[in-house]
Point group: none
Chain length 211, copies 4
Amino acid sequence: MPEPRRKARSRAERSRQPTEVRRQLVVEAARVLIADKGLVGINIREIAAASGVSTGTITYHFSGVNEILVDVVALEQQLFSEPLLAKMDDAPSAAAALQLLIDGMLTDAPEVVTHWRLWRDYWAAAVRAPELAQWHAEQYELWRTRVTAIVARGVESGELQSELDPAVVALEFTALLDGLAVQAFLTGSPVTPDVARARLTDYVQRRLIGS
Amino acid sequence: MPEPRRKARSRAERSRQPTEVRRQLVVEAARVLIADKGLVGINIREIAAASGVSTGTITYHFSGVNEILVDVVALEQQLFSEPLLAKMDDAPSAAAALQLLIDGMLTDAPEVVTHWRLWRDYWAAAVRAPELAQWHAEQYELWRTRVTAIVARGVESGELQSELDPAVVALEFTALLDGLAVQAFLTGSPVTPDVARARLTDYVQRRLIGS
Amino acid sequence: MPEPRRKARSRAERSRQPTEVRRQLVVEAARVLIADKGLVGINIREIAAASGVSTGTITYHFSGVNEILVDVVALEQQLFSEPLLAKMDDAPSAAAALQLLIDGMLTDAPEVVTHWRLWRDYWAAAVRAPELAQWHAEQYELWRTRVTAIVARGVESGELQSELDPAVVALEFTALLDGLAVQAFLTGSPVTPDVARARLTDYVQRRLIGS
Amino acid sequence: MPEPRRKARSRAERSRQPTEVRRQLVVEAARVLIADKGLVGINIREIAAASGVSTGTITYHFSGVNEILVDVVALEQQLFSEPLLAKMDDAPSAAAALQLLIDGMLTDAPEVVTHWRLWRDYWAAAVRAPELAQWHAEQYELWRTRVTAIVARGVESGELQSELDPAVVALEFTALLDGLAVQAFLTGSPVTPDVARARLTDYVQRRLIGS
DNA sequence: TATGAATGAGAGTTCATTCAT
DNA sequence: AATGAATGAACTCTCATTCAT
């Protein structure tokens, strides 16, 4: 069906935006849409409609649909991951930093659900789009490195106890976080985000803090 | 009513198979294809080519492309999961059973790589196909239940030590397995299957066996 | 879907029939099917299933699907029109003959409904199949000729009164019959077969018999 | 997600039209095509070719092929039936109105031939498409009602003579019109439109006007 | 910049017909 | 004579992309 049927937008309503502004608006709309409906099943027409512009505007500002997808994860990074990492950096202790990570990643807040859904969809999409695969690998590297640093700091200060290499602890921690999130957010399993959070919190308590 | 066929094209290689045989051949070919290229980007024509038949033959034997996808996971179940579960049932001890699971799931054997790739793709596909979502949830339930039973048996016999509820241990174990597999198989990260296996083996040692 | 899924018919159940017998069985099954579902939407697989044979058997005995369609109308002719014409020939009077025609064509008996449905479908089909168009024209010719003869006989014997050419009366009568049947059988109109029959009977009474 | 387009093929003849204009052009082309070749055997590609656009343009402006078919009858209504009904309303007498109907429906003018061909095809198509069946029934209702009103008016003014209920007369008249049209337009019979028109005119003369 | 009509390759699916058994 | 698996052209519909306005 032709576009005017979907959205009445007269010539007068047209708003002219600098490329960067328009791109931003489109990417934000696309992010919500993808988290909602999944990467498969999204198309340019829907992104356009959700952005309040025409399909032509989308392809005018982006080289193609893949570019939008890449920008969406960059935005997610900026809106979700970076603030969380920043908060962790400001945490008074290593234990507090880990707890911030746990609480930030395992709740049923809408932006958390969105985050894990995007995560899952980009896993699958990475198969076909090398630039996404690249980004994905870098993300894991980033998180492992950050957690490694926190653990190292904590062990050094005596706050955390572990006879293992901090990198190994970080691997175990991030794997557990991922694995719990999968069961809590991405399957219809009875494991709720709360259960997952309790589990990871307990893990940290037993393995790294108390004994 | 379609027009009569224009030309009789005789294919020398035309081979006849009973439905069940042909279905099996197609599903096997599709399984390899999907593991290789991902679920997105697979189409009937490629499945047909990989199976050495025409597209008509595919839709003759299957009600639609979705039926093939469902059959592929059923086959994977039959080829990969069930033998592993059977071996675990025959294991002399709980620790041995867990080790079989670890070794069976975290190696760089081709069928293991295939398994995890299928796993990832069906995660994403489950969003849109309720029957796959259902199957996915059941799989998690199944594995958690089995691991719970093994842990319970081990604790009961004194072979394993854990003050936690076996179900909780099973959740932690399966989450860790999943999370390690993700990093080892599904990202370009430096974490190899061997590292992942070593990690999970060590986890079992420290948490459930010795200390 | 493969044929064995629809109809279990083992090798032992195969019945071998001379071509003419098999053709007859198929055509009978096809006639019922077409009257039921319409000409569009019928396919060889369904004709085969309804006939209790495989698709291969159909195309073995018939040169193509069109041949079946032609044979179906020939059968309808034989089962419906010829007996009716024969009864009319045996009628004691012209008026009785016309009444037999009216009663035979405008009731809600299943075979009458079938007859008019086939009639309608073959109208449309005739556009593309010249052999059907030919048959269609011949049918009209046949009925007009027969009715003309009856009217002529009736006028001659003084039984019917008409100042018009019997051929003209026959045209009016057959057109009225057709037009009433259309409204009674082929539209969702409130005109029932009974109403149509009463109307045509009345027409004959007023125009040809009484005053 | 489909692959990027391989080649930019610029069609010099590409012409842009507002949706409503393009829809109109397509429906007009489809109407001629259907009248010419029948409803069976029409497909989107042919409609596209006849409209001078690509198949994509067709499905861009219409929700599907069925929508075109429905629009074609709506257009036929608008181009053929409504003007005729309007002329009848303006007729000085009931007899003149009936004569306009007869002359408008039973000539060999191309638009009349087209009209009856469409009529026949939509009869058959109505079997499978409930929205068409509905429309068809309404059409018969409409014509019967209009003719009933004309006859009633004529009888009231003494212009027409009939001892029958005007609704019954209308049924007979419309059935006769239909039945004559079938023989004149839709079979290869020797009954020409002129003969049919003369017959129906005569019917009105004898039955409703003089004696 | 923005629009949205136009495009055509490619998707899943249907089905009369072919032909090895 | 009968079977039913195999075929591939043709169908409707989707959609990223192009481009005249």
